[in-house]
C-alpha cells in the first residue's frame, strides 16, 4: 500500500509545483504539506527514493505504525487530489474570462481605419492652399524690400552731405561728442568715396574736425575745465586717432614738476607747523603755508584723479609719482627730526603728511600708499623715538659736563651740589617730558597712528630700556672707569674731576630709587600692553634689571671715586716714603708736611662728599671740647703704647710677634674693609681706612733707624686727632694707626719711642703753626 501511495504523492507534488510557479503559491497548502512531510525523509525533494523510504519505514516501524501511516497517507492523497481539482477549475475559469475579453477587443477595433483616411485627406488640402497664398504675395514683398534699401542709402548720402554743416553746428554749440560721433560714423564712406563723389564734402568736414581737435586739445590742457570735460576731450581725441601718448607724457611731466613744490622742506617744516596752528585759530583767514600746501596737494591729487581717468593706462606712472611724493615726505621728515623736534611739531608734520597720503590714497587706492606710508611712518617714528632718547642722554651729559669748566670752584663752592641737582632735574624733567611727548603721540588718533600704537608702546618700552643701559655705559665712560672703544675719548675722560664721579654715583642711586620706579609707573599707566610681537622675548622694559644695573653702577662709581681719591693720596704717601733715606733719618723736629697734604686731601673729599651724599643715620656725638679731651686720650694711649714698645724691645722677638698676634686676637680682627654705603661718613671713613692701610704697607717696605721710627710715630700721633674728627669708625682708625706704628717698630733697627712730653710738644707746635698759618691766610 505504501508503494502505491508513493507515486501518487509524487505526481501531486509536481502538479502543485507547476501551478505555484504560475500563480502565487497558496501558503496554507504548501505549509500544510511540508509540515506533514517534514517528519519523514523529505518526500517533496527531487532526490526522494521511494524504495529506500519504504525499506526504512518497514525496518523501523511495527505493523501498527505502518497501518497508521497508511491511513494517514491515504488521507493526504485525497486531500491533494481535491486541491488539484480546485486548482484546475480555477484555471479554467480564468481562461474563459480571458477569451471573453479578447472577443470584445476585436469588435471594438473594427471601423477605425475609415476615420483615419478622412483625416489625412483634410490635412492635404490645407497645405495646398497655403502654398497658393505664398506664391501670390511674393512679388509684392520683394518690391517693398528694394524700396526700403534705396531709402536707407539715400538717407546716408544725405547725412554725408549734411556732415560739414552739422559739424559746424556742433562746434558752435561745443557738442564735440556728437561731432566726433558723426564724423567717425561717416568715416568709412568718406574713406571709400572721398576722392570721387564726396570730395567737397570730405574736405569741409575734415576742416571742421581739425578745428574740433584743436579745441579739444586746448580743452584738455586748460586746467580751468572740469575733469569730466577734460577726460571727455581726451576720449574724443583718442577716438579721432590723434596721438595721445605724447600729450600724456607732457601732462605727466608737468605733474612731476609740480612735485617739487609739494615738498615739505625741513627748513620750512617748523614754519609750516606754526602756521598750521595759527591758521586754525584764525579760521583760514590767513592763507598760511599749511593751507597753501594743503591746497597744492589737493590740486595734485585732483590732477592725478583726472589723469587717471583720462589715461587709464598711465596708472603705473601715477603710482610712481604718488609713491615718490610719499617717500619724499618721509625723507624730509627724517631730515627734519635730525634736529630737535618736539612731539607736537612732529605730529603736526605727520598729520600734514598723513592728510596728503589720505588725499592721494583716495585717488589711487591701488597704489597701496597707505601701506607704503605706514611702513615709512614706522621707520620715522622709530627714529623719532630713538632720537628723543639720545637727545635726553645728550641733555643729561651736557648738564653734567657744563659745570666742569672751573675745577677749582668745585672744592670750595657748592658746585657739585648744583651739578647734582641740575642733573637730577635733567633726568626727571627729561623723562617726564619724554613721557608727555610720547603720550601725545599715543593720543594721536589719525589713522596711521592707531595702527602703530602697539609698535609705539613697544618702542617706548624698549627705548627706555636701551636708554638706561646706554646711560649706564655713558656714566662709566664719563667716569673714566671703562675707557671707551675710542682711545682719544678715553683719554679726555680721564681728566674728569673726581667730584663728578661722586655726582654720577649719586645720580645712579637717584635713578635706581626714584626715576626707574616712576617710569615703571608711567609705563604701566599709559604704555602697557602693546603688541604681542614685541613681547615675544618678554616685556621690553624690565625695571628690575635696570635697577640692578644702576645699583651696580652706583656702587662701581662710588668705588671708583674712592679709588681715584685714594690714588691721589697714595701719590703723596708714596713720595713721602720713597724720597728720604729712612735708615739715616735725622731726629724728628716737627711733624712732616705730608700730613698737611694728607689732611687737605681728606678735607677735599669731605667737602665733596658733603655736597653730594646724605648724612648717615648713625652720627657719633660731637665732642664739645675736641682739643682738650683729645690730647689726653691720645697721650694716654701713647703711654700704653710706649710701654708695650719698651717691653717688647727687651724681650725676644719671638715673643714680640706672639704678643702682636695675641693683641690682634683680643682686639678681634677689626673689620677694616667694610662695605661702602652711600653716606658722607662711610665714604670718608673708607678713604681714610684705605689710606692708612696703604701707609702701613709703605712702612713695611722700609727699614728705619731710631729717628725714622720716631718721625713716623710723631706723624701718626698727630694724625690721630683730626682723623678721628672726620671718621665715624674710631676703633678701626685707632687700630690702623696702631698698626702703622707696629709696622714701623717691626721695621726699625733700634726701637726707642719718643717720650710723650716731647711728642705733645711737637704736636702742639705744629697745631700752633697751622693755626697761625690759617690766621694768616684767612684775611687775605
Amino acid at each position: 500500500m505504501a508503494t502505491e501511495a508513493a507515486p501518487m504523492d509524487e505526481k501531486a507534488k509536481r502538479m502543485r509545483d507547476l501551478l505555484s510557479s504560475f500563480y502565487a503559491p497558496d501558503p496554507s497548502i504548501s505549509t500544510g504539506g511540508s509540515s506533514i512531510n517534514a517528519s519523514f525523509d523529505n518526500i517533496n525533494s527531487t532526490s526522494f527514493d521511494a524504495d529506500q523510504y519504504m525499506d526504512l519505514m518497514i525496518k523501523k516501524s511495527n505493523m501498527e505504525v505502518l497501518l497508521q501511516r497508511h491511513v494517514q497517507m491515504a488521507a493526504e492523497i485525497k486531500n491533494l487530489d481535491t486541491d488539484l481539482q480546485m486548482l484546475v477549475y480555477e484555471n479554467y475559469n480564468k481562461f474563459i474570462s480571458a477569451t471573453d475579453t479578447i472577443k470584445r477587443m476585436k469588435s471594438n477595433i473594427f471601423g477605425m481605419e475609415g476615420n483615419m483616411d478622412q483625416l489625412l485627406q483634410k490635412i492635404m488640402s490645407v497645405q495646398s492652399r497655403s502654398d497658393g497664398v505664398n506664391t501670390s504675395l511674393f512679388e509684392k514683398r520683394e518690391h517693398i524690400e528694394k524700396l526700403h534699401r534705396t531709402r536707407n542709402l539715400l538717407r546716408k548720402v544725405q547725412f554725408i552731405y549734411d556732415l560739414p554743416a552739422r559739424l559746424q553746428k556742433c562746434i558752435k554749440s561745443e557738442a564735440y561728442g556728437d561731432a566726433v560721433r558723426f564724423y567717425t560714423g561717416a568715416m568709412p564712406i568718406l574713406k571709400v568715396y572721398g576722392d570721387t563723389s564726396f570730395q567737397e564734402c570730405r574736405r569741409a568736414s575734415e576742416e571742421a574736425i581739425e578745428i574740433i581737435i584743436k579745441n579739444l586739445q586746448t580743452k584738455l590742457f586748460s586746467d580751468s575745465e572740469s575733469i569730466q570735460a577734460r577726460a571727455e576731450a581726451a576720449v574724443l581725441l583718442k577716438q579721432l586717432d590723434v596721438p595721445v601718448d605724447s600729450l600724456k607724457a607732457r601732462l605727466l611731466e608737468k605733474l612731476e614738476q609740480s612735485l617739487d613744490g609739494l615738498q615739505i622742506k625741513p627748513e620750512d617744516a617748523s614754519k609750516l607747523v606754526e602756521h598750521n596752528d595759527s591758521s586754525k585759530d584764525e579760521e583760514s583767514n590767513n592763507q598760511g603755508p599749511a593751507k597753501i600746501h594743503e591746497d597744492a596737494v589737493r590740486g595734485f591729487s585732483e590732477a592725478m584723479r583726472a589723469y587717471r581717468e583720462i589715461f587709464p593706462d598711465s596708472e603705473e606712472r601715477l603710482f610712481k609719482l604718488a609713491r615718490a611724493l610719499t617717500t619724499m615726505h618721509f625723507e624730509n621728515m627724517e631730515l627734519y627730526i635730525k634736529k630737535r623736534v618736539s612731539a607736537a611739531d612732529f605730529l603736526g608734520i605727520f598729520r600734514i603728511i598723513w592728510e596728503d597720503v589720505v588725499l592721494m590714497d583716495e585717488v589711487l587706492p591701488e597704489a597701496a600708499l597707505s601701506d607704503l606710508s605706514a611702513e615709512a611712518a614706522q621707520v620715522t617714528l622709530k627714529q623719532f623715538v630713538a632720537r628723543t632718547f639720545s637727545n635726553l642722554q645728550q641733555d643729561i651729559s651736557d648738564t653734567l659736563l657744563k659745570f666742569d669748566i672751573n675745577q677749582k670752584e668745585i672744592v670750595d663752592g657748592e658746585v657739585l651740589k648744583v651739578v647734582l641737582e641740575a642733573s637730577r632735574k635733567a633726568v626727571l624733567q627729561g623723562t617726564a617730558d619724554i613721557f608727555q611727548e610720547f603720550r601725545q603721540l599715543l593720543d594721536e588718533s589719525s589713522g596711521i597712528f592707531v595702527k602703530m600704537k602697539d609698535f609705539l608702546v613697544g618702542w617706548v618700552q624698549k627705548g627706555f630700556q636701551d636708554f638706561f643701559r646706554s646711560l649706564d655705559a655713558h656714566f662709566l665712560v664719563l667716569s673714566g672707569k671703562t675707557s671707551s672703544s675710542n682711545e682719544t675719548e678715553g683719554k679726555s675722560s680721564e681728566k674728569i674731576h673726581a667730584g663728578l664721579i661722586l655726582v654720577l654715583a649719586q645720580l645712579s642711586v637717584f635713578i635706581e630709587q626714584k626715576v626707574i620706579p616712576r617710569i615703571t609707573e608711567e609705563i604701566a599707566a599709559s604704555f602697557s600692553g602693546g603688541n604681542s610681537q614685541a613681547f615675544e622675548n618678554g616685556p621690553a622694559f624690565i625695571p628690575g634689571e635696570l635697577c640692578r644695573v644702576f645699583h651696580a653702577a652706583s656702587e662701581k662709581l662710588l668705588q671708583h671715586y674712592i679709588d681715584t681719591r685714594t690714588q691721589k693720596i697714595s701719590v703723596v704717601l708714596r713720595k713721602r716714603f720713597k724720597t728720604p733715606n729712612w735708615i739715616k733719618h735725622k731726629e724728628p723736629r716737627e711733624v712732616h708736611m705730608f700730613v698737611d697734604m694728607f689732611l687737605q686731601q681728606l678735607e677735599e673729599v669731605g667737602k665733596e662728599v658733603k655736597q653730594i651724599l646724605p648724612q648717615g643715620t648713625f652720627r657719633k656725638h660731637k665732642r664739645s671740647d675736641s682739643n682738650g679731651s683729645n690730647t689726653t686720650t691720645s697721650s694716654r694711649s701713647n703711654t700704653l703704647h710706649s710701654d708695650k714698645m719698651a717691653r717688647s724691645n727687651s724681650q725676644r722677638a719671638r715673643s714680640q710677634l706672639f704678643e702682636t698676634h695675641l693683641a690682634k686676637l683680643f682686639k678681634q680682627k677689626v673689620e677694616i674693609f667694610t662695605k661702602v654705603e652711600f653716606t658722607q661718613e662711610s665714604v670718608v671713613t673708607t678713604v681714610v681706612k684705605l689710606c692708612l692701610k696703604s701707609l702701613q704697607e709703605y712702612v713695611r717696605l722700609q727699614t728705619f733707624n731710631r729717628s725714622g721710627f720716631q718721625q713716623i710715630q710723631l706723624d701718626i700721633q698727630f694724625l690721630k686727632a683730626p682723623l678721628k674728627e672726620t671718621v665715624e669708625d674710631e676703633a678701626a682708625i685707632d687700630f690702623l694707626l696702631d698698626e702703622v706704628i707696629v709696622a714701623a717698630s717691626e721695621r726699625c733697627l733700634d726701637v726707642i719711642p719718643l717720650e710723650p712730653p716731647i711728642l705733645d710738644k711737637l704736636i702742639q707746635a705744629k697745631l700752633a703753626k697751622s693755626k697761625e698759618h690759617n690766621n694768616n691766610t684767612v684775611p687775605s
Binding site: 682711545e487 678715553g490 674693609f673 692701610k693 696703604s694 717691626e746 733697627l749
Partner: protein, 352 residues
C-alpha cells in the same frame, strides 16, 4: 665669600714675604719660604706636602744670614735657590745650595753657590727662566737689570750684560717670559717695560703706574697679567699693549701679587693686602666676546669671574705660588708668617 679654613697651615717663626714652588722636585709637592726679620736669625724652610695632601711637613730648616725679601727656587735643580736679602742698610743677592744629607745634620748650613754682588741699589728680585734648564739668571735693582751666567759646578756667577732703566723708572720687580728666553718684563714706577736680553734694549711697554705684580700666562704666549695698587688686575695682550683685554676688580686694598696657573688656562690667583687670596677665572673666550656684550651681561660675568675668595688670613698676603707638580694646589704666605696650602680642585669643574 666663604672663608672656610679648608687649607693646611704652617707657621713660620717670624714675618715673611716670599714663598716659592720647588719646581725641580718631581717626587713631592714642596715649597721654599724664607723669613723677614730685621733683628732675629732668619730661616729658610723647605716644606713638603705629605702624600695624602693633608699635612705640611717641614723637610728642612736652614738659617739664612739676613732677612729675605725675595726667594726663588731653581727650576731645574731642587737644591738650588736664590734669595734677595737685606741687612737693613744694604741689599744683597745670592744663589744657595741646600747641602746633601741635610736631614742628618743637626744644624745644616746653606752652601753659598754664588753672590750676585754687582748691584749698588736696592735689589728687588732674582729671576730664573721658568721653562727649563738655562744657565742664565736675571737680577734687578731699582735702576739696573743684570744678566748673569751661572756655573753651578764652578760656583761662580758672572755678569754677562747689564742695562740701566734710567733713574726715573725705579724698577720694582719683574717676570721672565716662559715662552721666550730673551724676553723679560720689569715693573717700574710708571710703566711695565719689556726687554730683549740679546740686545738689552726695551722693546715694548705698558703705560701703567704702580704695578705690584706681573706674570706671563704659561699657556698663552701673548697674555700678560698685571696687579696694581688701586686699580685691580688687568689682563693684556702684548701685541696690543695699549688697552687691557680684561679687567678684574682685584682686592679691596692693594693687589700685591698675581700668578697664572701653570696648567689650567685662565685660572688666576691674586693676593692682596686686604688679607685675602682671590681665585679668578678669566676665560679667553670671554675676553674675545667682551666687546659685543651688553653691560649687564658683562657685570654678571664679572661676578662669576671670582671663583673664590680665601679670607682666612690675619695679615696682608704677599707670598703666593702655584705648585707645578700638582697644579690645583697653591701656597700662600701672609705677613705674619703663616703658610696656607689650599686646593682649588672644587672649582675646576666650573671652568668648563
Amino acid at each position: 665669600m666663604q672663608g672656610g679654613s679648608s687649607g693646611i697651615g704652617y707657621g713660620l717663626k717670624y714675618q715673611a714675604r716670599c714663598i716659592s714652588d720647588v719646581k725641580a722636585d718631581t717626587d713631592y709637592t714642596s715649597f721654599l719660604t724664607g723669613t723677614l726679620s730685621l733683628k732675629e736669625e732668619n730661616e729658610v724652610h723647605l716644606l713638603r706636602l705629605s702624600s695624602g695632601g693633608t699635612e705640611l711637613v717641614c723637610e728642612g730648616l736652614f738659617s739664612h744670614p739676613n732677612e729675605i725679601w725675595d726667594l726663588a727656587s731653581c727650576p731645574f735643580d731642587q737644591r738650588i735657590f736664590s734669595t734677595v736679602f737685606s741687612t737693613g742698610e744694604s741689599f744683597g743677592a745670592a744663589i744657595w745650595q741646600i747641602p746633601e744629607l741635610y736631614g742628618q745634620l743637626s744644624s745644616p748650613q746653606l752652601e753659598r753657590v754664588a753672590s750676585l754682588d754687582a748691584h749698588v741699589g736696592k735689589i728687588n728680585c732674582v729671576l730664573w727662566w721658568p721653562s727649563g734648564r738655562c744657565d742664565k739668571l736675571i737680577s734687578m735693582d731699582e735702576q739696573n737689570i743684570f744678566l748673569w751666567n751661572l756655573d753651578c759646578s764652578k760656583k761662580s756667577a758672572e755678569v754677562q750684560s747689564k742695562d740701566s732703566a734710567g733713574m726715573l723708572h725705579s724698577l720694582s720687580g719683574g717676570a721672565w717670559s716662559p715662552h721666550d728666553v730673551n724676553a723679560v718684563a720689569a715693573t717700574g714706577e710708571s710703566s711695565v717695560q719689556f726687554w730683549d736680553l740679546r740686545t738689552m734694549k726695551k722693546v715694548n711697554s705698558i703705560e701703567r703706574a704702580h704695578v705690584r705684580g706681573v706674570d706671563y700666562s704659561p699657556k698663552r704666549e701673548h697674555t700678560f697679567i698685571t696687579a696694581e695698587d688701586e686699580s685691580g688686575i688687568h689682563i693684556w695682550d702684548l701685541r696690543k699693549a695699549k688697552v687691557p683685554v680684561q679687567s678684574l676688580p682685584g682686592h679691596t686694598h692693594w693687589t700685591w701679587s698675581v700668578k697664572c696657573n701653570p696648567e689650567y688656562d685662565g685660572l688666576i690667583l691674586s693676593a692682596g693686602t686686604d688679607s685675602a687670596v682671590n681665585l679668578w677665572y678669566a676665560s679667553s673666550s670671554s675676553t674675545d666676546e667682551k666687546a659685543s656684550e651688553s653691560p649687564v651681561a658683562s657685570t654678571r660675568q664679572r661676578v662669576n669671574l671670582l671663583l673664590n675668595s680665601y679670607t682666612d688670613y690675619e695679615d696682608s698676603v704677599y707670598g703666593l705660588a702655584w705648585s707645578s707638580r700638582e697644579p690645583w694646589v697653591f701656597a700662600s704666605l701672609s705677613y705674619d708668617g703663616r703658610v696656607v696650602i689650599e686646593s682649588v680642585k672644587p672649582f675646576l669643574p666650573r671652568l668648563k
